[in-house]
Amino acid sequence: MPDNGASQAKAASGATNGTAAETGRQRVRMLISALGMLPVLLILCIGFHVLSEGRFFTGQNLGIVLQQAAVNTVLAAGMTFVILTGGIDLSVGSILAASAMAGLTLSKLPEFGALWLPVSVLTGLGFGVVNGALIALLRLPPFIVTLGSLTAVRGLARLLGADTTVFNPAIPYAFIGNGSLTLIPGVASIPWLSVIALLVILVSWLVLRRTVLGVHIYAVGGNESAARLAGIKVWAVLIFVYGVSGLLAGLGGAMQAARLYAANGLQLGQSYELDAITAVILGGTSFVGGIGSIWGTLVGALIIAVLSNGLILVGVSDIWQYVIKGLVIIGAVALDRYRLQGSART
């Protein structure tokens, strides 16, 4: 080949151009995938604002939305850890109820009353660690284990209050549930529940993106066998994520207890796990594990809260709210799939 050198040089320059274009496209794609469902959230907000004749973007209403999103955000944050490892935690609603019951029951004892908050959280952690141990050490499937604890822990929650509603109008730290943190006196404030939720998201982000453990969580979800061969203690990672999910469910229970001054083992937290899972999926976290971000989960939880709030503002009947919410979820995820087509893994 006489023109070998020339054609090679041409090929090389072509490759460089290709690489530059490729990098540019990758940037655009990364930006789109980083934004995720944020555009959907914004469109929903603006749409509801218009349809409700300007009642959506008011300080008071936004406060309500944030407050309504808070508990689900906390549960969904824990769920994100679990789903990132390729697992699932169906028991968070039940754990929330049991933790709230344990906390409220304790809060009525005068000498230990102030301890109710840590006890709620630790109760959740305990259940989570048990889930994790069964999954990590006995190698049982997460779906089965947490389906079992969904039922068993619900029973325990009812047992704790002798199947009645426990009230405590004088519960310590009640401000968590109903107070607000004043940012600018008389102008802007943010409910404590939302502050907690945002802190949980922030800490979750730190753990997932800035610690060794975070990388290990993504690694276990991405390829468990490879993680094991790479020297990662897979069992410890699994116990950790289910522990976190339980702990945050316990925190959610405490938040609910402080908000309602009461808890009922049968009713509290029913089907909360579905909202939490929905938020995670809306946030773009892969059900297979290994892909996803905590910010996506926050956006997902906000979408759910905005939908509930907006549909009420617009005056849609309770029954139709269900139908519309379901369709929006399917539509949003379909949009996500379409958006991700052509990327390495969908």
Partner: protein, 508 residues
Amino acid sequence: MNDPILEMRGVSKSFFGIKALRAVDLTVYAGEIHALMGENGAGKSTLMKILSGAYRPDPGGEIRIEGQPVRIEGPLGGRAAGISIIYQELSLAPNLTVAENIYLGREISSSGLLARGAMREGVGPILQRLGADFLPSALVAHLSMGQRQLVEIARALHARSKILIMDEPTTALSAGESERLFALIRQLRAEGLAIIYISHRMDEVYALGDRVTVLRDGRLVGSLDKADIRADTIVRLMVGRDVSSFYKKEHDPDGGRGHPVLAAIDMADGQRVKGCSLTVHAGEVVGLAGLIGAGRTELALLIIGAATRTSGRVEVEGHEVDIRTPGEALEAGVAYLTEDRKALGLFLDMSCLDNINLAVLGHDAKLGCILDRDKARDRANKAFTSLNIRAANVGVSAGGLSGGNQQKVLLSRLLAIAPKILILDEPTRGVDVGAKSEIYSIIDNLAKSGTAILVISSDLPEIIGICDRVIVMRAGRIAGEVARGPDSPLTQEDIMALATGMEHLDAG
């Protein structure tokens, strides 16, 4: 020669403006074995996917089969046009029988019910013609890799395909199974099929190819007739430059073999490994050869604690270490490169940066748990430079890299711990020629710097090219050792004799 069965004229394919194939002209005749070679990323799989209907070519090109222009569309398009592809990862359903797999998608039914009997009878003659030693009613899960390949071929024949494309069909086969496959491929050629044979292995191309076509950067850079097939010509076409010394072995253990670094004594797992002992010295490259299934990988997994041993102990630099998990092996300085980098090695969705740093994250971390991102970036960038990893930057996900670059990323992870002992399981499997020679020179440099290296490989020329001595396993035991002497080079014959048990016959 007769009329071509497949003609591709000016077939191009671009993805978002990137040209994966540039105006490729390929002509294949009935009754020939047409070898297709090229580095990973050269465009072989794109070409295949166009022929199978998975990709639609850019407008402008033309594909003719038996002289008729065809449009191959949809997953069944290839088969409808008479083209069958046998992929590297076989596409059989292991939970179904041989007959059910062959009829998959075209089941026979009578009045709505599956006619299992008719299907079994239907595949009988084809299996017989292929010399299959299993029944149509056998479950695919119970078959060996070689037998599964036969099922794939039977499926192609059953669909009356005229063109059979095989993508590295011997990757998972033992030497004996490969030989049988070659005989079968020649038989199919004699029956008038056109076979497009994709392989990285020069010896296979020599043995089988009637013609060789080489792709590079999406272009067809040359077609050679059988008489002109020569390794150096093909390699030059593939990489676009001369590869003077393919295997690199400059380290010299004879001048002073180091102290023993790894000693595995009487290792057994109760199943596949039956009391194996071996020693590797500092600065030495030891080959671990044997047939597929001889227990080489299993022995390596025992050494690094990824499998449970029933007996045996491991000594590192003369001290016994109790290795029970791969993590403990890494702490002891024993690193293992898996033979299956996609399933067991890499995290394809994670960045190269994370993949490279994974084993040392804890060591580098601030306050014991906070990632040191500067250090990680630094380490990844250094690995990119020193191992010549080609990717846009260290942030891209490992899944998007070519096989050779993926292997180098995985190797970087192991090198990050500065291992005393490196166990490399099929280090160049599925790796293109250019990267192969780079990996050889990495191994050579590590040996020079005193690392003890154990190389498991089924590629005998590779073992002979880079190793100082070769330990051969057979049926879970160490069958013997072949050493390189001043006047006696390592030979494939000596190794194969030990691997197959032929040396007893010689002695007798």
